[in-house]
Subunit: 359 residues, 2 copies
DNA sequence: GTTAATTTGTCAAGCGATTGCCAAAATGTG
DNA sequence: CACATTTTGGCAATCGCTTGACAAATTAAC
């Protein structure tokens, strides 16, 4: 056995264990291209990434070879030396909730447009699971978007130190956040309710660990005081149809004529409970939701709700992250990334679940 | 200086390492652990992946070091030598459609449970864009799930040769597919309609490039013939609320007393158009949808629809892919992966958009 | 025609894991 | 106590791509 034979055999052994198993014609690498085009791999890499760095003719030859071999860059392999994965992670509290699907949609489209891939993970409303998931995706993404984070401020900050991170629907000092301006929508809602003669209203709160529920409660309190309305808080409750449903008895007991729910899901749940109890909406009870999710205009009566620019928020989150990622290496765009040309405002959508107050 | 001192000092040295840019204390690697534990990197790798392969005491020491450094495995780095990414790609025709969100939910949960990550991409109902996305995610996933694929059979097969692939809601020979059994639901729907005195019904078709639309049309035709019902097909149309809305005039013109729509979105759109035109549902027109998406029971009247086990299908898709991935290397589970203990059946959910036929 | 400046492409060292092969250490056997 | 086994851990190559440093080739300048 000559040494060449030995090499050959070693070579054979080194082959990735019969990777052509059940399926899998092997993907072409830059080495294959290099061989075909008669250049070195590094030249291929340059031809593909730094147009102009090498001779135009070889560049063309390389591109041709790449096409011929149906070359596809391996993102994992690229990620190793560069540290950039071109992937973003999005953590949702609950995929089931249409609110989140809308945010995902906005984010996904924006990410795709910028050539980024979106990974999604769900925490199922648990802070613990959230920390876990975040940790899991962390190494494989360039940035993380938290939607309705359930973990603690410290935990979030901890992650924010490791990778660019933006939080949707929750405020945190020193962390990029995306929060719509609640004031216009809430003010309109309260004005609308006051116009209809309501003087005593209730807020159907969401989970305690939801920052946004607190914010809505707060804003509601502020504006109702200003308008001289009485505000009762019912809850906390789970932010789902069932959560809204379950609150119905307490709503009735509270004696209010109007309810603003933490979100549309709860509003709709409440609405249905009311209907099942032949409790007229809006005759005896006006209901206002939050977010204007898909389907909130299907109900009967269609839901009056404070619309939140969900898709836009997802989009914006991606843009922010990308700005952070970029400025990390390029040091290019002056850090004024947070300057929003976009205005994240809320507005009241009046439909028919709100009406004149019963007396 | 004893070796313990050395370890301690190594500990100190292992700190910050100044690579911190704008953010980013550097993630610990197995090399860091190795240094801290006083072993070689390969030993660390073994300790972490092949419990029992090394001495229990060193293994413990390594685990302690890993915890101390908050070690997190880098999936990219692992993917390179192993070829396995622990990531699955899911391609949707349209994220906006609640049908798809439900499938995503099922898939995401199952994937998470099995320790896999889900990447999602959207083709926005375009075959071209779909091929592109598929190609893009291909190198970074262990398998691909296509939901409502819009690309050609050949293109799908092409991808199927490169990576494990399963297709939801579309049939293709020689490719793993997940398709619910339409017969029970459709038969029930037709029986229900016939019972109510309808003799002439219409199918509101979806896009031509949707295999599922064809399948539903086909099954409808088969069962209505058997029952002696007249079936008209209206369409094709876009599978959205607007698509359903747009079809209203043609439905009226066709003179049928009942319509089965390609999906709930179209059904709901049609329903709303009818209401706006004061065309009574179900008084003058009965409407049956498909899928039972979120919100289809919110409408008024609530939608009668053929339910599809969407979440289950997503879940199953993940299980299938995982079985394929597994059998590729392990050669473990006998290829009877396709044996479904699960039954993917459809059933009619009777609500109030269907009623006695007008004559 | 010689030297300086510029282009173009190759070398080789990583990135963070995994793994076959082998040597040293520990254990068992007669 | 010498020798055969089994454990345990390290070496080094590899996955596919990027990139700083440098040499060869080409072009420009004098």
């Amino acid at each position: 056995m000559t040494s060449e034979d030995a090499a050959t055999q070693a070579d054979v052994l080194a082959q990735p264990q019969s990777r052509a198993g059940r399926n899998g014609r092997q993907a072409a690498t830059i080495y294959d291209i290099a061989k075909l085009a008669g250049v070195s791999p590094s030249t291929v890499s340059r031809a593909l990434n730094k147009p102009g760095r090498i001779n135009i003719k070889t560049e063309e030859r390389i591109h041709a070879a790449a096409k011929q071999l149906k070359y596809r860059l391996n993102p994992m392999a690229r990620a190793l030396p560069t540290g950039r994965t071109n992937t973003l992670g999005m953590l949702l509290a609950d995929i089931t909730n249409p609110v989140f699907s809308t945010v995902v949609r906005g984010a996904q489209r924006e990410a795709a447009e910028r050539g980024f891939t979106l990974i999604i993970a769900e925490s199922q409303e648990s802070g613990q699971r959230e920390v876990l998931s975040a940790g899991n995706v962390l190494p494989s993404v360039d940035g993380i978007i938290l939607v309705g984070a359930r973990m603690s401020d410290e935990e979030i900050k901890d992650f924010a130190e490791q990778k660019p991170l933006v939080v949707i629907n929750r405020f945190l000092p020193d962390v990029e956040t995306i929060i719509p301006d609640l004031d216009p929508g809430i003010d309109q809602a309260l004005a609308h309710l006051a116009d209809l003669g309501h003087t005593s209203i209730a807020f159907l709160a969401g989970p305690t660990n939801s920052w946004m529920s607190g914010a809505r409660s707060e804003a509601l309190r502020k504006h109702s005081e200003r308008r001289g309305l009485t505000l009762t808080e019912i809850g906390p409750g789970v932010p789902t149809l069932d959560g809204g449903r379950a609150a119905f008895p307490r709503v009735v007991a509270s004696g209010v004529t109007a309810v603003v729910a933490y979100n549309d899901l709860m509003a709709i749940g409440l609405l249905r409970a009311a209907q099942e109890a032949d409790y007229l909406v809006p005759g005896r009870l006006s209901i206002v939701g939050f977010d204007d999710i898909f389907g909130s205009d299907f109900t009967s009566p269609p839901l009056t709700t404070v619309r939140t620019p969900l898709a836009l928020m997802g989009e914006l989150a991606v843009r922010r992250i990308l700005a952070m990622v970029g400025s990390r290496s390029d040091g290019d765009s002056p850090s004024g990334a947070s300057s929003d040309l976009v205005n994240l405002t809320t507005e009241l959508i009046i439909r028919r679940s709100s009406g004149r107050a019963a007396r």
